[in-house]
Subunit: 141 residues, 2 copies
């Protein structure tokens, strides 16, 4: 079954002095204030598209890695994934870096590294993000 999930942004005014908020329509889990200052200068307290892209990528990678580890006979106790997404005004989104730390009983270092690379290459958000660079640093906790 295909599932369609929705989110809505309402923006008022121009880019620099205007403001927006983004609602997670499907889950109703959050309403997020957004700003150009958060995006272009890292101003505190508001979200931006790159933070949300990082949230999507970290969640997708964690699911894919969990699935592949179970297929390997080595289900994870826990997987922590931070996605760091970089935006350069005038240039665009230059990359998503995945920093992974996972507790996986009885797996070899070699299998762990191989499966982490496979999760990076095959997670649906990685595949959708074909227009940017994706890097990975994974370690057994």
């Amino acid at each position: 079954m295909a599932v369609t999930s929705e989110a809505t942004t309402l923006w008022t005014g121009d880019l620099e002095s205007g403001k927006g908020h983004t609602t997670l329509d499907s889950s109703k889990a959050a309403e997020l204030p957004m700003s150009w200052a958060a995006r272009s200068q890292g101003a505190a307290g508001k979200s931006n598209p790159e933070e949300l892209l990082g949230a999507a990528h970290s969640a997708c990678f964690s699911m894919q890695f969990a699935s592949l580890l179970t297929k390997n006979g080595t289900t994870a106790e826990s997987i922590q994934v931070t996605a760091a997404v970089t935006f350069a005004p005038g240039e665009g989104i230059t990359g998503s870096h995945l920093l992974v730390s996972a507790k996986v009983p009885e797996i070899s270092e070699e299998d762990f590294e191989r499966i982490a690379e496979e999760a990076k290459a095959t997670c649906p958000v990685s595949l959708a993000l074909a227009g940017t660079s994706i890097t990975l640093e994974a370690s057994l906790a």
Copy 2:
């Protein structure tokens, strides 16, 4: 200046019975419960990577459209953008559909359509999402 934004997912257990939550680290604006059931069956109440990707895309498009409308000398009063992102298990992310309604004083229908298409093509999240299909439906409110 390049800005790096971060989000972290912590997942425990396998894909189907495990659970996760995603934290927006840079803004600290939300902590979101995630589930495979929300992603693969549209189960209510929890978020999933596609909803977050839609949030990123709708926010990015709204900023790009706001910027281009101001450059045209027709700053928007408001721009509402819903991104609907579809996930088919086993197939991946099949598309992001942008549904846009905007109040823009004194713009022609023709300029409005042209600038909306330009925003779709040039918004940084659209460019990063080169691996999936992006469609647009825009109307003047």
